[in-house]
Amino acid sequence: MSELTFTPVIGIEIHIRLKTDTKIFCACSTDTDAPANTNICPVCMGLPGSLPRLNHNVVEKGMLAGMALHCTVQPRSLFFRKSYFYPDLPKGHQISQCDLPVVADGYIEVHDAEGKLKKIRVNHLHLEEDAAAMHHSASDGRLEGASTSYVDYNRAGMPLGEIVSEPDISSSAEAVEYAMNLQRRVRYAGASDADLDKGMMRFDANVSLKCSDGRWGRKVEVKNMNSFRALERAIEFEIKRQKKILQSGGEVLQETRHWNDAKGVTSASRVKEFYRKFIVEPDLPPLIVNQEWIDRVTAMMPEMPDVRANRYVHDMGLTQEAADILTDDKATADYFEACVKAGANPVRAANWVRTEVLRVLNETQKKISEFRVKPEVLAEIVRRVDDRKLSTTQAKEVFDYMCANDCVLDDVVKKLGITEGGVAGNALAEIISNVIKANPDVLAEIQSGKDTKGKKFKFLQGLVMKESKGQAKPQEVVEALTAALKK
């Protein structure tokens, strides 16, 4: 009997926080730094008599996110009530577009095990409200044995887009690439900051195994993954767990399991499966998106990272690797393009951005929007190196100085004692005079004719070059130094 093989069949549901100023159904702020329970009102607290009012921008950000995933905007969509009892849900039901979403039918590309591009179909993106945040710890911060859970309704009613993939994913690696690609694209579209640390992007995965003997494991829903690493580990754990069951002839139960990140395991949810039923949300008429709005949002869509990277490779001569690094983050790519637009050579500008700029940002933990050296200035530095007005060493010195201080390029050049167009004439004469003065013994040796091999001359020449910060032209140094020694 041949060895059984198992093919994972994985679908992913990703919740992203859409980037808006107010919540989905009320005018409360979406500020995540606000103190607990300050952004609340009758609507997001589910008070009797309150009614939802849909935020225009939530729809628009949902459309942008959907378009970034190659989806089509649906002219008519609808909201439903999805019921379950839990204290994080103020109305006892969530208002969600689950059954008739605003965008549908897209895809994201990932690399399969052989490195070939593969499309993961996106079934749809629907709009819905977030639940309140729960803290399961005692007021003294103690977790174990605490008898109380704390509720912060600031998060209740935050706008979410739930993106549901088809079960086209076959490994944890594909899953992570799918999720990262999705994150990059919705960020590009300006639809979401998708900041994992702030809970703006959360993952659930449906995992099942197809066995070579024809058996199919039942679908297991794994919840509670809040990082790419957790997504990867949870899927791997689940594949292993189910494989073991199937290998021993057992049956995989259809259930919801929770990922415990600290323990690195999934476990059957203790909370009884939420019982779900949808009725049409009677307080919100159908959402109608007309062609004019679709056109307007289409025009807002920026070039997506893969398209951009292609352009860098084909039009600007960058390597694929450099192009991928630069396009990973839209702000970085925008910065790079601004450099090029300001006249920098693309290949050299790309080198500067991916090495120097990203290094400094990483060291200082800053965003590119806060970066002191504006792209036009970097372009100028790159240009001066090309024009030999700055040596590479000087350019880096200038760049580093400007990263740490508020100043303009020419002042820095002056401040660092760098003269435009090299060190010559009086400036060079002064350096030579200082070098000679500082080395009377070497001078004496040369003048006494002992420097037959020219070693001592080369030594002084090196000192002058160093003092001029590499800016003096070697030929001019030789001439001026020879003349000075003859005096």
Partner: protein, 480 residues
């Protein structure tokens, strides 16, 4: 003349013309309430102990007292929906309808009784005990807005607000002998109305004259961005036109309803009213509503309960209302709060709504009902192609005695057949007074319904009916 007897128009005119002060009117109404309330029990919460506060001395209701059904949120004033589960909840905001009245200068005398969460038609299903009919205190005032109807009928206030999900304004108006208007769905903002069946609920007025109904409607019918089902483009004109006419209007009777039996006073009122209409130039015709007459009751209850059970999911004791402090777990907390907080009728409706929308039954019942509703709405559109208004009873009989509720709950629902199709199709309906029954002395009301947005035309017809049938008198409130 006691000031409490004045209608809204006279009262506000009297104050403006300085014939009497708002204070005098207020006190007269308060005395009237004091003398009748022991027998009627219309109030859940009285707010008439302080000075009359009018926010706008120049508004059209400046200084005129009113009461609100207790499912309308009032900022800082207890709002219960007649349920234990809301405890002593004081909403932190005002319902839009109340805000509009307040801004027009109306003075709040209190919050009045209703069936719990508007589920019922007797006003006896309340955590605060039953309200009595001011025309005969041994009888029900009808419901669910029984307190609002009784308060106007007994002369507590010249006008009040109620809500109508399946007849909850029109039926008590008819039982108590006042006018009651259920506006077109979308005409009046529902913001701050504690929901029962959200797609059916509509707020409307009670008053003792059509002109007063028109006055209140002119204030209520304003667009409110807080309610997404509120219509923006409509600008209805509720001006009182003395010379309005119904000449040439086709007023239809429903063919299928002719087979149902009516109590004699109501059948007589139907005849009398047709005669008045014909004498004023209207043409009496007939329309057929087969789906409505056969399926509306089932359709209505399926949808009302499906929506209601989701509307009632929010009552869990965490953020407001009745709660417990010693539950061992969250499930226990929710169970104890809801089991004690809701009355039996509400519980039955929650369970029925949950049952209908379970994944296994949803298509068969809930989804089917939404389709039947489409047929019902279409049937009315067809009917109003053939007529301008429909004349029909509000109920087949006069109010029964308190405590004589029908044992079989579903049979009670069938008496709603005349009122609830109006909510399913989102139509306007006016419950109007036709006179008093000779033997029981009880008021007899009937109903005029029209196509969507015909509210002001219905009221014009109602004005002509009032002129010929007479206005209702203030009931003695059991004082006699």
């Amino acid at each position: 003349m006691e000031l409490y007897k004045l209608d809204l128009y006279e009262a506000s005119k009297g104050i403006k013309d300085r014939k009497f002060s708002a204070q005098e009117l207020f006190e007269s109404c308060r005395e009237r309430i004091d003398s009748c309330e022991g027998k009627i029990n219309a109030f859940i919460t009285r707010t008439d102990n302080a000075e009359p506060i009018t926010e706008n001395p120049y508004g059209i209701f400046a200084g005129v007292p009113t009461v609100l059904k207790d499912n309308l949120c009032t900022n800082g004033i207890r709002t219960t929906a007649a349920s234990r589960i809301l405890g002593n909840w004081k909403p932190p905001y005002d319902a839009t309808a109340w805000k509009y009245l307040r801004e027009a200068g109306a003075v709040l005398m209190g919050k009045v009784n209703m069936d719990e969460f508007a589920m019922g038609n007797t006003c006896g299903n309340s955590a605060f005990g039953p309200t009595h009919n001011p025309n005969d205190i041994s009888r029900i005032p009808g419901g669910s807005s029984g307190g609002s109807a009784a308060a106007v009928s007994a002369g507590y206030v010249p006008f009040s607000l109620g809500s109508d999900t399946g007849g909850s304004i029109r039926q008590p108006a008819s039982y108590c002998g006042v006018y009651g208007m259920k506006p077109t769905y979308g005409m009046v903002s529902r913001y701050g109305l504690i929901s029962y069946g959200s797609s059916l609920d509509q707020i409307g007025p009670f008053a003792r004259t059509i002109r007063d109904i028109q006055l209140v409607m002119s204030v209520l019918a304003q667009y409110d961005p807080m309610d997404s089902s509120c219509f923006r483009e409509k600008n209805p004109d509720f001006t009182h036109h003395e010379d309005a006419s119904i000449k040439g209007k086709r007023i239809a009777l429903v063919k299928e309803f002719q087979n149902f039996t009516l109590d004699a006073p109501i059948a007589e009122a139907m005849k009398k009213t047709q005669k008045v209409l014909e004498e004023n130039g209207a043409i009496i015709t007939e329309v057929s509503l087969p789906v409505v007459s056969k399926y509306a009751v089932a359709c209505y209850y399926a949808l009302a309960m499906s929506e209601a059970h989701t509307n009632l999911e929010r009552y869990d004791g965490v953020r407001y209302g009745y709660t417990v402090n010693d539950a061992a777990g969250i499930k226990e907390m929710f169970e104890r709060v809801r089991s004690y907080g809701f009355g039996s009728e509400v519980k039955s409706r929650i369970i029925a709504g949950t049952c209908l929308t379970e994944p296994s039954r949803c298509d068969e019942y809930y989804v089917a009902a939404t389709k039947v509703r489409t047929l019902i709405a279409q049937e009315f559109i067809r009917a109003f192609g053939e007529c301008d208004f429909i004349l029909q009873p509000v109920t087949p009989s006069l109010p029964h005695k308190i405590g004589e509720e029908d044992e079989d709950a579903m049979k009670g629902y069938e008496t709603d057949l005349y009122t609830l199709p109006v909510n399913l199709a989102g139509l306007p309906g006016l419950s109007f007074f036709t006179g008093y029954d000779d033997s029981t002395k009880l008021p007899v009301g009937l109903q005029l319904i029209g196509p969507r947005w015909s509210d002001s035309e219905i009221l014009n017809a109602g004005m002509i009916l009032e002129r010929h049938l007479g206005s209702p008198k203030i009931a003695d409130g059991g004082v006699k």
